[in-house]
């Protein structure tokens, strides 16, 4: 695998980095939409995150990278367990821990890049052409959604994606399961992944339905101060001239971040949400008039992930404040005549709720 730019070496863009880390802590947040100027390191950050994540345990040879400890396994793992059981014991008597029978290993968290121009059959999976052509068998070949299970699915230029592909992606991302009914194949397999989309609003607006499905939304801008810009160019240049020693310099920072992530994941379930935080988030969403409850849920989940990340035991008002803009920015009703942007409106509401 090629050397990638270290995550901790990205200059500025704190909001984007925070959002990506939170999704790594709690995948249920529902993905990140990164919108912004060209050349602000959107793709760099996603690829860097992939390299930084702690490895995970997965069943060897499973096309979906199943977690051996998980309750629900994919069809192929179930088949293998069934085959082993029928070989060893009499059929019908299930073992206590069937998962123990599966061999597993530590692997990298998958970060699947959805290449532009991918066709639907390769995204959702389809008939295995090779086997059908050579052996005449009807077999399922998992697509990118299957490969992204338990990891990240990254779509650059999300506003250029064909509408029907977007619909499929959103549906699967929300349900965590890919249901394939095509080419005479009927199969369902787990596809739980964090959807990360990036794009430039100047190339065309995104549909509001699409916006709402992303958990967090961040806006990235080119740094305005000269010093930060010089630093961006300097680090990039240093990386390109000698990637290996550049990564060496940042190894410790990366390792520290990785440990922080691991701890946060373990602590996540222990973080409590007091009633006051629930009430505050509800009041905030009411003040902003967001549609539906998805905003509140995302706000609470990401605040909890943030609390876990910074090592707090309980969600506090400060966590809500830090995450409110990212979690709600894209859920506001657009008022064409209100010149002030979403960020300003959220800030205003924040000062009203958190007096």
């Amino acid at each position: 695998m090629a050397v990638v730019f270290p995550f901790s070496a990205i200059v500025g863009q704190d909001e984007m980095k925070q959002a990506l880390l939170l999704c790594a802590v709690d995948p249920r947040i529902g993905g990140v939409l990164v919108l912004g100027d060209r050349g602000t390191g959107k793709s760099t950050a996603v690829r860097a995150l992939a390299a930084m994540l702690p490895p995970m345990r997965a069943v060897v040879g499973c096309p979906y990278g199943c977690d051996p400890a998980a309750a629900a396994l994919c069809p192929s793992c179930r088949e293998r367990i069934a085959a082993q059981e029928s070989a060893v014991r009499s059929p019908g008597k299930r073992g206590r821990s069937p998962q123990g029978a599966l061999e597993s290993a530590l692997v990298r968290v998958p970060v699947v890049d959805l290449p532009l121009g991918a066709t639907e059959d390769r995204v959702v999976g389809a008939l295995d052409l090779e086997r059908a052509l050579t052996k005449g068998e009807k077999a399922f070949e998992p697509g990118l959604l299957g490969r992204a299970n338990r990891g990240f699915l990254y779509i650059d230029e999300v506003n250029l994606l064909e509408d029907h592909l977007v619909d499929v992606l959103l549906d699967v991302a929300a349900s965590g399961e890919n249901v394939v009914e095509r080419d005479g194949i009927s199969i369902r397999h787990p596809a739980r992944f964090v959807l990360i989309g990036s794009g430039n609003p100047e190339e065309g607006e995104l549909r509001p339905q699409l916006l709402d499905r992303f958990g967090l939304s961040v806006e990235v801008r080119t740094p305005t101060e000269l010093k930060a810009r010089v630093e961006v160019v300097r680090r990039r240049d240093a990386f390109e001239r000698d990637p290996i020693s550049f990564c060496q310099q940042w190894r410790r920072a990366e390792a520290k971040l990785r440990r922080q992530l691991e701890t946060a994941r373990q602590q996540l379930d222990a973080v409590t949400v007091p009633d006051s935080a629930l009430e505050q988030s509800a009041r905030l969403c009411m003040a902003l008039g967001t549609d539906g409850l998805r905003g509140e849920l995302t706000l609470l989940r990401s605040a909890r992930a943030l609390a876990a990340l910074v090592g707090a035991r309980e969600v506090a008002a400060s966590h809500l404040q830090r995450i409110a803009v990212s979690a709600l920015r894209h859920r506001l009703r657009r008022n064409p005549l209100d010149e002030s942007g979403s960020d300003v409106r959220i800030e205003r509401a924040l000062t009203e709720v958190f007096v």
Binding site: D37, R38, G39, T40, G41, S43, D113, L114, P115, L116, G117, A118, T119, E120, D121, R122, A126, L127, D128, L129, E130, A132, L133, T134, K135, G136, E137, K138, E141, G143, L144, D156, E157, E162, H164, D183, G184, N200, P201, E202, E203, G204, E205, L206, R207, P208, T222, L226, R229, V230, V233, R236, D237, E240, R241, D242, R334, P336, L337, E339
Partner: protein
């Protein structure tokens, strides 16, 4: 090679040959012709012979661009065979895109992705594969009237930008590739490449000072993207390597600034703007660039890289070592003459009238999407069908449908062939939108019209807020004083529209006929892109400037009616909103002549206006859809 800009263009070719992957590519703005051909020959001459240089048609389909299933081989061998696309075939070389401004956003995004990753990943037609594709892109931008342009994402990744407009043919022809000079040039490049290849990248000129100086120049010129600053640094490094120099000198930075940063400039550097003398000389320089700059001492001295003794005004001293700020100032002083003339007049490109846009940087959204042929709509899937009834056969889907049955059907065919039967045939299902582009033509003359402008702005924003549902576009033309300008080219981006609308001028006389004429032109271009235009005219119908620019009410009336008749002949759908406080026959007469819907609206607000337009849009859209359906004729799901 006397002409300074031609020399810069040749230098750009050499830099690209030095570091094609680092610079990403080049945007060449020129009409097709001998000058451009000469430049391409020069580029070919400096590239190593084994490096491929492939031409890419701008409307290339994905299957050829990225690769996919090689159907012939698949059918022959009876197992899936992958086929490389053009990008993978050009690995290690250059992809030349003629008519780059016609390239669709999707194709441009694929090029950009390939430039970023250096490989092509294909997930198509049951093929999952990746091929290396280390390429550089030469985008030949022929969109001279600013009608269409490259997407910003791709522009940002192509490091060098040059403009060959105005370079006399004699200059370019005087440097044929087979002369000794060009040979020496090629040898020089070859030796520099060898120099570059013989050393590891880490020993290339260390350049912290140059880095900071170039970032400073980029900042001063309002070039925001870090990619541009990085490309400038690489260009400077390539220039130093070209001279086989161990360190980056000021001249290298100047060349890099001229080729990378100056064409992207969005504002005057503060230090240049403050000094009137400098400004006038800079304007002179830019004007001379349009004419024949051979005799301009100042320009020649600026451009003669490497001749430090005759360097341009403003740097009698060599830069004090270790002071990047001073170096940035000096680079700025030396290259400011190359700033586009419009910029020095204080026109910010992002709000400059589209009709007057120059330079590679400006662009409009909504290019490319030509959907005239009903057989060429967006494929939205396949269905079982008969390929003889005007449908296009989807071979891969057909093959897929036939594949599982091959074992069963083996009996009735010879080995190695695929038995395809009628029930396997799959045809493409296509969908074509009849999108509407609403063009506002607003009378911005006089003080009362100012209110109208504000209403039009409000209505535009209302429409845009709904636009992403309908995928429609909006444009704005305002006429005042002596003429009419396209203030907002067709767009569906609210962000962009709001930015442009925030500073609209108003006041002056009423060149009604000119406004209608510009609108007709824009409507025509919208039609050619496959959209149906809807014109909304906000005026009181009383022009006082004729088409020839002369004042006079009667003359203006006759001219306006003449253009209105032209509208009718073009078959344009229009809505005329009478903005005068009391109804006046002039506007009604105009509406009748152009066969427009007439709407007297003395005290409208933005909401009422947008509602009226929505009604008119609905009518226009229905009509367009009906025409579309009639032309297609084929069965639709």
């Amino acid at each position: 090679m006397k002409h300074a800009r031609w020399r810069d263009a040749c230098a750009a070719a050499a830099l690209l040959a030095m570091d094609p992957r680092g610079l990403g590519g080049i945007v060449v703005r020129a009409a097709p012709g001998p000058v451009r051909d000469a430049w391409l020959r020069a580029l070919r001459a400096v590239l190593p012979e084994q490096e491929p240089m492939r031409r890419m048609p701008p409307q290339i389909p994905d299957s050829r661009l990225l690769g996919g299933l090689d159907l012939a081989a698949t059918l022959r061998t009876g197992r899936p065979v992958a086929e490389r696309g053009l990008l993978a075939e050009a690995h290690g070389g250059i992809v030349v895109v003629p008519m780059a401004e016609r390239m669709g956003a999707a194709t441009a995004a694929r090029l950009a992705a390939t430039l970023d990753s250096g490989e092509v990943r294909v997930e198509r037609d049951g093929i999952a594969q990746s091929w290396p594709a280390q390429i550089a892109v030469v985008a030949l931008d022929e969109g001279l009237d600013g009608d269409e342009a490259l997407t910003r994402g791709l522009l940002d990744r192509l490091g060098l930008w040059i403009d060959l407009e105005g370079i006399p043919i004699s200059v370019a022809d005087a440097t044929p590739v087979d002369t000794a000079a060009a040979d020496a040039f090629a040898i020089e490049t070859a030796s520099a490449r060898a120099y570059l290849a013989s050393r590891p990248v880490t020993t290339l000129p260390s350049s912290d000072e140059a880095l900071e100086a170039l970032c400073g120049v980029a900042h001063a010129l309002g070039v925001d993207s870090p990619r541009a600053a990085l490309a400038a640094l690489r260009a400077a490094r390539a220039a130093a390597a070209l001279r086989a120099s161990p360190v980056i000198e000021q001249e290298d930075c100047e060349l890099a600034a001229r080729l990378v940063l100056i064409p992207r400039a969005t504002r005057k550097p503060a230090s240049v703007a403050e000094d009137p003398a400098v400004e006038s000389s800079a304007t002179d320089g830019a004007e001379q660039a349009q004419q024949a700059p051979h005799d301009s001492v100042a320009r020649d001295s600026v451009a003669r890289a490497g001749d430090a003794s005759t360097r341009a005004e403003g740097d009698p001293l060599s830069p004090p070592a270790g002071d990047p700020q001073a170096l940035a100032e000096q680079i700025l002083a030396a290259v400011k003459a190359f700033l586009p003339a419009g910029l020095l007049e204080g026109l910010i490109p992002s709000v400059a009238p589209a009709g007057k846009q120059r330079g590679v940087g400006q662009q409009r959204s909504g290019r490319g999407a030509v959907r005239r042929d009903p057989l060429r709509g967006r494929p939205v899937g396949t269905q079982r069908g008969d390929p003889r009834r005007g449908n296009r056969l989807d071979l891969v889907a057909t093959l897929r449908a036939a594949a599982p049955w091959q074992r069963v059907r083996r009996g009735d065919t010879s080995r190695g062939c695929i038995a395809v039967r009628t029930e396997d045939f799959r045809v493409l299902r296509r969908e074509q939108r009849a999108a509407t582009t609403t063009i506002f033509v607003v009378d911005a003359s006089g003080s009362s019209a100012l209110n109208r402008l504000a209403e039009a702005k409000g209505a535009i924003e209302y429409l845009l807020a709904e636009c992403y549902v309908r995928r429609d576009r909006v444009a704005l033309i305002a006429f005042r004083g002596q003429g009419a300008d396209v203030l907002l080219p067709p767009t569906r981006s609210l962000v962009r529209a709001r930015r442009t609308l925030s500073g609209l001028p108003g006041g002056g006389a009423t060149p009604l006929a000119a406004g209608l004429q510009v609108a007709a032109k824009l409507a025509d271009s919208v039609c050619r892109q496959g959209d149906s235009p809807l014109l909304v005219v906000l005026t009181d119908g009383r022009g006082n400037i004729g088409l020839d620019g002369e004042p006079g009410r009667e003359r203006a009336r006759v001219d306006a009616l003449a253009v209105a008749r032209q509208w009718r002949l073009q078959g344009l759908t229009a809505l005329l909103v009478d903005t005068s406080p009391r109804a006046h026959p002039a506007a009604q007469e105009l509406a009748q002549t152009m066969q427009a819907r007439f709407l007297p609206l003395p005290y409208a607000d933005a909401a009422v206006l947008s509602q009226a337009i929505s009604v008119a849009t609905l009518g226009a859209g229905l009509r367009a859809r009906a025409i579309d359906g009639g032309a297609r004729g084929g069965p639709r799901p």
